[in-house]
């Protein structure tokens, strides 16, 4: 029994990384006042490009680690470009953000699938990146498996959480982002270029979503398929609300969701007579239930979320 629980918990950290990166990215978007429902599509594109580069380099066989890194970088750049494009649509042309996001999601998922069939064809795996056992620490029983035997990208993603907090709460740019998402008019009156800040946040958010996708294909699944993302982009958006736009709370949400997911895979693999359809639903039901009971805290919320800013129009 202990084995099963350890096994479950040790899957938690590596499996939560994609969600975590995507929702931290989405947090920056929303803190600046724009929500990007297209997260899923950006992740799909990131996953595709991230897998394509090491696959082309090695033909599916062994490949230098540098190609994996190149895959991540390409995914981040592509994600940032998607963010830029989304900024053009929602900030400059002030299109309704929800509709634009759904469009971006469909575009990203569809394009990634089409390009995949063109360049790769069928299911092909890549070597991916290895787990690193941290000396000494990884040999601690139980704890070592849970915390200290993962791939490098997972460690880096978790190290990014305090960095994200610092950026948001301790740098001039973070201050501008928070002001732009809550009181753009006040920010404007202080000489801050609200549109520019929103573009920047969308590009950062897009880059993180791209990285999240690349993590799925390079580090987690070590392959690409049309259903690789399977709703994680939307869950990431939900986790931002769940986590009250705060990095630490978002991390908690990502871990909780992943725990529910690993729980259901283990329930299935143990062959307990439990309808697997219900088990698969569990994490999603959890998100809905938790979101329904999350307090609507107007104090931390970026109150101008979803509202295009136009200096000339008073609301």
């Amino acid at each position: 029994m202990l084995d099963i629980i350890t096994n479950m918990l040790s899957m938690c950290i590596p499996f939560s990384v994609a969600l975590l990166l995507a929702s931290i990215g989405e947090m920056f978007n929303q803190r600046a006042g724009v929500f990007n429902l297209g997260c899923e599509g950006v992740m799909a594109m990131g996953a595709f490009i991230g897998m394509l580069i090491p696959f082309m380099a090695g033909g599916g066989g062994a490949v230098s680690e540098w190609y994996n890194l190149l895959g991540f970088v390409a995914a981040a750049v592509l994600g940032a470009l998607f963010g830029l494009f989304f900024g053009l649509v929602t900030v400059t042309f002030r299109a309704p953000q929800g509709i634009a996001g759904i469009g971006l999601q469909m575009f990203g998922v569809g394009t990634a699938g089409t390009l995949f069939r063109h360049f790769v064809g069928g299911t092909q795996s890549i070597p991916g990146i290895p787990d690193i056992d941290i000396p000494v620490l990884s040999r601690i029983p139980v704890i070592g498996d849970i915390f200290f035997s993962h791939n490098a990208a997972a460690y880096l993603a978790y190290l990014f959480i305090p960095v994200a907090w610092y950026i948001l709460f301790r740098t001039p740019w973070g201050l501008k982002v928070r002001a732009a998402g809550t009181s753009p008019r006040a920010a404007d009156s202080m000489g801050i270029n609200v549109s520019r800040v929103r573009y920047e946040a969308l590009m950062l958010g897009g880059a993180l979503a791209g990285l999240a996708g690349a993590y799925l294909s390079i580090a987690q699944a070590k392959m690409f398929s049309d259903t690789l993302i399977s709703g994680r982009g939307f869950i990431a958006v939900a986790l931002v609300y769940f986590g009250h736009w705060h990095p630490a709370q978002i991390m908690g949400g990502a871990l909780l969701f992943t725990l529910a997911q690993t729980f259901q895979t283990i329930v299935q693999s143990m062959g307990i007579s439990f309808p697997y359809e219900l088990a698969v639903m569990l994490p999603y039901i959890l998100v809905i239930v938790v979101l329904s009971f999350t307090s609507r805290n107007q104090i931390t919320a970026p109150t101008s979320l979803g509202k295009p800013f136009n200096r000339e129009i008073r609301t």
Partner: protein
Amino acid sequence: MEDKIRSLRMEHISKRFPGVLASDDISISVGEGEVLALVGENGAGKTTLMNILMGLYQPDEGRILINDEEVRFRGPEDAFRAGLGMVHQTYMLVPNMTVTENIALGYKAAWKPFRLDMKAVRDRVVEISSRYGLAVNPDAYIWQLSVGEQQKVELVKTLCLGARFLILDEPTSALTPQEVDELIVLLHKMTEELSIIFISHKLQEVKALSNKVTILRHGKVVFSGNTDDYSSQEIAAKMTGHEIILPKNSGSPSDGPVALSIKDLVVMSDRKTVALDHLSLDVRAGEIIGLAGVSGNGQRELAEAINGLRRTESGSISFFGKEISNSTPHGIIEAGMGYIPEERNVEGIVPSFSIRENLILKDSDSPQFSKGVFLDSRKIESTASSLVERFDVRCPGTATAAGSLSGGNIQKVILAREIERRPKFLIAVYPTRGLDMGAVEFIHQKLLAIRDSGIGILLISEELDEIMDLSDRIAVIYKGSIQRVLSKLEATRERLGILMAGVREES
């Protein structure tokens, strides 16, 4: 620190907008340590002139001189750099950030590449607030502060960012009387170091604060002079172009039946604290009861509870003998309650609806305005045009969006709707807040006329003059219960002020 601004002059400023001459050859001047009051009714061109001064608009003609040198502002940044700072009527603060963070937003000296030097900002805030006697807590979040405190933050912010000349756009429009007094003292002290232009249409403050007054009407200067040489009445007459005499309630006490009877009412606030603490109050038909008190003592919750917009915990509200607490708003409206809500743009009208739609909001399903399931647009239009005329709503037509009207005209639309329904009772919450003298006069006349027709009114206001002019009896509310009810004859400003501050009288 750069040079002091010893003098500022705007000379022969003209500005045309399509179809209007918003500024017509206006000249003003302010010297060192002076306070100039820029007075005029809504739409007289005060804000346009200040926007020109701040570089938001370019004048078509005329020039601006600081210390006798001509300056040109291409944008607000240029005006900041020259040392001008403006506090807008609606505050430009981010509610979920602290005072220090809000100021850091504009304090570029603290912006290091990867770090915000919060200590430098904080030091600056502390220095400025002690120098000018503006007590603010640098670590408080804006949402925690009252309106008066937020205004101090705005002043500190403007000064921190280097303002050596202040422009205040209707600084008192959202403040309680106590906060106004405090602000006047503060600004007086600040004139030792800088000069101020303030926009206002409240003559009391103009008298209390300014050395010089310039009155604008229809984009023109109609009068300029030393404040001390003229009385409030003279200034008011010059502002409106005719003499304004606010009407007074001179009727005898009503002996009508009790229309609204509130007993031991307990209601919670939004923050789940007790807002009304066993409040009891009776209002008769045909009398105006003025509810005096510093805002935030339960006035909003009382009005909402009576109108079914807020749940009551215990106690009773009886309306002509019928219990209405926790009824639906619709039921209460049907019972004959009229309501002029506090937030006229949010609760009083649907801003995107036309004037005529707003006028029938409460009667859209009455046979008077509908044929079967369809609205009868002809009847609606004829009723609306006659109301617009009778209530002197200045608008291009009844199809105009109500939200595009000025505050005074919006209030007239609401008043027309509520009165025309012939209610049995009226609750008026801050009915003249932020309105100019002409509109105030009109609304006061209407309220008194309703009273004389035998309808009871609960008038909630923080303007003591308004309460004393209109009320038959005055109830003072403090921390959610009624301190005392005084008759018109017993009430003096001093006595009300003491009661409003929470001091109990020996009775």
